[in-house]
C-alpha cells in the first residue's frame, strides 16, 4: 500500500457528495472474476451438450471445450486470491471458517466440487489415451502419464463402457454444478442491498445466461483460431451448431438484462434518479453501444442470417466476448460509481503503469496476466491431453 493512501484512493475520483470512506473498492479484478467463471460455465455446458444431450455435431469440440473449461477454472478464482484480497495469505480462511450467510463463503465449496467434477470427467474421457501413453512413453512424460493412470490399466470393453457411463453422469451433474457456480457469483452481487444497480433477484440468472453466452463464444473463437494455427479445416457443422446455441442463449440473456433495467425504471425507487444517470449517461455508451449493440444485437443478426460462415461466426464470437466483458465491467464499476449518499459519483481510473505494489496488483499488468493465462494453460494441457485428436480415445 502506498504511504499516505487509503486502499482505493489511488484510482478513485470523487464528484459532488460522496461519503468520506467511499472509494471504488471492487476494481477490475471483480469484473474479471465473474468473466472467467462465466467462461468456465459456458465451455462446460457446451461440452455437455455433446456428452449428455447427444448433439453429435459438437463432437469435434467436446473435448476441447472440456479441457478449456478446466484451464479457465484454474484461473477463475485467481483475480480474487492473487490480486484482490488485501490479505491473500489468509485466502484459505474461507475454507476454515466459512460463514454461510455470505455468498462468498460458498466459494471454496462450490469451486472445489466443480473442480473435482471437471477433473474426473477429463480423466474418464482421456483414460485410454493416458494408458496408451503410459505404456509407450519413457522418461519424465512416461512417469507423468503413469501417475495420471492412477493405477488403472483396464482397457477391456466393459471398462471402456463404464468410462462412457461415468462421463455421461459427470457431464450431467456438471450442468447443475456449473449453473450453481455461476448463479452464486451472480448472487454475490444480487444480494448487496446497498448497491442499487446490483440488488435484484434477476442477477444470478443474468450472470448465468451471460456466462453461457460468453463461454460458448470463447470456444468458437479459440476453436477457429486453433484450427487456423494448426492449418486444419474448421468443422463447419460444429461451428454452425455452436453458433445456433450461442444465438439462442443471447436472446435469453438480452431479454433478462433488458428486464432488469425496465424493472428498475418502472419501480423508480428513490435511487432511480441517480441510477438512471449511471445507466443512460455515464455508462450509456458502455451499456447501449458496447454491451448490447455490438455485444448482443450485431452478433444476433450475424448468427441468424442464413448460411453461417466461419468468418461470421468468428466475428460474432469476438463481439460477444467483448460485450460480456463490458457487462461485467458495467455492473461492477457502474454499480459502485454512484455514491451510497445518492448525491455523488465516483469514477474509476484503472492503473495502467504500475509504480508501486498497489498499482501493480490492481492494474493492467495483472489483468493481462489473468486473461492470457487460460490460453497458456490450454496450450500446456494440449501437450499432455490432445484436445483436437479424436482418435486417441472415445
Amino acid at each position: 500500500m502506498a504511504a499516505g493512501h487509503v486502499h482505493g484512493e489511488l484510482w478513485t475520483l470523487k464528484e459532488l457528495f460522496t461519503y468520506p470512506n467511499e472509494f471504488i473498492y471492487w476494481t477490475v479484478h471483480i469484473a474479471i472474476y465473474p468473466y472467467l467463471t462465466g467462461l468456465v460455465a459456458g465451455a462446460f455446458v457446451l461440452s455437455s451438450l455433446y456428452h449428455v444431450f447427444g448433439k453429435n455435431e459438437l463432437k469435434p469440440v467436446a473435448k476441447f471445450s472440456l479441457i478449456f473449461s478446466f484451464a479457465l477454472l484454474i484461473m477463475a478464482p485467481q483475480p480474487l486470491l492473487l490480486f484482490h484480497l488485501t490479505q491473500p495469505q489468509r485466502a484459505l480462511n474461507v475454507m476454515f471458517t466459512p460463514h454461510f450467510y455470505s455468498a462468498i463463503a460458498a466459494f471454496g465449496v462450490v469451486f472445489s466440487t466443480y473442480m473435482a467434477i471437471v477433473a474426473a470427467e477429463i480423466w474418464f474421457a482421456y483414460r485410454p489415451h493416458i494408458i496408451e501413453q503410459a505404456q509407450t512413453r519413457k522418461g519424465l512424460m512416461g512417469t507423468l502419464y503413469k501417475l495420471m493412470t492412477l493405477g488403472s490399466y483396464d482397457m477391456s470393453k466393459k471398462a471402456l463402457h463404464i468410462d462412457q457411463k461415468a462421463i455421461k453422469f459427470l457431464a450431467a451433474i456438471g450442468i447443475p454444478a456449473a449453473c450453481f457456480l455461476h448463479g452464486y457469483v451472480g448472487f454475490i452481487f444480487g444480494s448487496v442491498k446497498s448497491v442499487a444497480f446490483w440488488f435484484t433477484p434477476l442477477m444470478p440468472l443474468i450472470f448465468l445466461m451471460s456466462a453461457i453466452v460468453s463461454g460458448i463464444a470463447l470456444c468458437i473463437f479459440t476453436y477457429i483460431i486453433a484450427m487456423k494455427l494448426m492449418k486444419r479445416e474448421v468443422d463447419i457443422a460444429a461451428t454452425k451448431s455452436m453458433g445456433q446455441v450461442l444465438a439462442w442463449f443471447i436472446v435469453v440473456a438480452f431479454v433478462l438484462e433488458l428486464l432488469d433495467v425496465v424493472a428498475h425504471g418502472y419501480a423508480a425507487k428513490k435511487d432511480w434518479e441517480i441510477l438512471s444517470t449511471i445507466i443512460f449517461d455515464r455508462f450509456g455508451f458502455n451499456i447501449f453501444v458496447l454491451q448490447w449493440g455490438l455485444g448482443f444485437v450485431v452478433p444476433l443478426i450475424l448468427l441468424f442470417l442464413p448460411t453461417l460462415t466461419v468468418g461470421r461466426a468468428f466475428i460474432s464470437s469476438a463481439l460477444v466476448l467483448m460485450g460480456v466483458f463490458m457487462m461485467r465491467w458495467n455492473v461492477v464499476i457502474g454499480g459502485q460509481s454512484m455514491s451510497k449518499s445518492l448525491e455523488g459519483y465516483m469514477d474509476y481510473k484503472m492503473p495502467i503503469i504500475p509504480y508501486n505494489l498497489e498499482t501493480f496488483r490492481e492494474g493492467l499488468v495483472a489483468v493481462i496476466f489473468l486473461l492470457v493465462m487460460p490460453f497458456v494453460l490450454l496450450w500446456i494441457f494440449n501437450k499432455i491431453l490432445p484436445v483436437f485428436n479424436n482418435k486417441a480415445s472415445h
Binding site: W26, L85, K193, S194, V195
Partner: protein, 172 residues
C-alpha cells in the same frame, strides 16, 4: 445546506479532517442571505442491530458482540471488501496500516470499562450521548423513548442503533 430556491448542497471537504472553515459547499460561493438552513451531521458506524456487514463476511471475521457492538478481527479478515460494499452507510473502510476492513468500534475498549467513547468526551457541547439503550435509567434510553429521534436509512432494515435528535429530511 438548503438554499431559498430549494437547492440542497452537501459536502464533506477533506473528510472533515480540518473542520469546516469556509461557506463554499462543492466549491460554490454561497451568499449568506440565500441560505435557509445549514448544519453539520456527523456520521459514524450505526452499530446496527442487524448489521449487513456481519451478514456478508465470508470468514466470520466481523461479528457482533453480546452487548451489540460490531467489531472486526484484524487477524482473521481476508480483505475481500464485501462488508464495505454491503454497508448502506458507507461506514466501513480499509485500515491504512493493518490493511484489513475497519470500522468505528464505539470505543469498545473504553465503554466496556465504564468510560465514554472518545467522540462523546471530545464534544464541547455535550451533543453526543452514549449508553445502554436497554437500561430504563440511562439517558439515551429516555431520549429515545420520550424524545423525537430518527435513524438514518431505515429502509434497509438494518435497525441502526445510532439515533439523531431533530434529524432533517435533507440529510443523506
Amino acid at each position: 445546506m438548503e438554499l431559498k430556491d430549494g437547492t440542497v448542497l452537501i459536502d464533506s471537504p477533506k473528510e472533515g479532517r480540518h473542520g469546516y472553515l469556509k461557506n463554499d459547499p462543492q466549491g460554490k460561493n454561497i451568499k449568506e442571505e440565500d441560505i435557509t438552513k445549514g448544519f453539520f451531521v456527523c456520521k459514524l458506524c450505526n452499530q446496527c442491530e442487524k448489521p449487513s456487514c456481519v451478514q456478508v463476511c465470508p470468514v466470520g471475521a466481523t461479528y457482533k458482540t453480546h452487548d451489540g457492538v460490531t467489531l472486526v478481527d484484524r487477524k482473521w479478515c481476508i480483505g475481500c471488501g464485501y462488508c464495505v460494499m454491503n454497508c448502506p452507510y458507507g461506514a466501513r473502510f480499509f485500515h491504512p496500516v493493518h490493511n484489513v476492513a475497519e470500522k468505528c468500534t464505539f470505543c469498545y475498549h473504553r465503554i466496556t470499562k465504564g468510560m465514554n467513547s472518545v467522540c462523546m468526551d471530545a464534544c464541547a457541547f455535550g451533543a453526543r450521548k452514549i449508553g445502554d439503550i436497554n437500561d430504563p435509567q440511562s439517558e439515551v434510553h429516555k431520549l429515545i423513548k420520550y424524545g423525537r429521534t430518527f435513524v438514518l436509512k431505515p429502509e434497509y432494515g438494518n435497525k441502526p442503533m445510532v439515533f439523531y435528535i431533530g434529524h432533517d429530511h435533507i440529510v443523506r
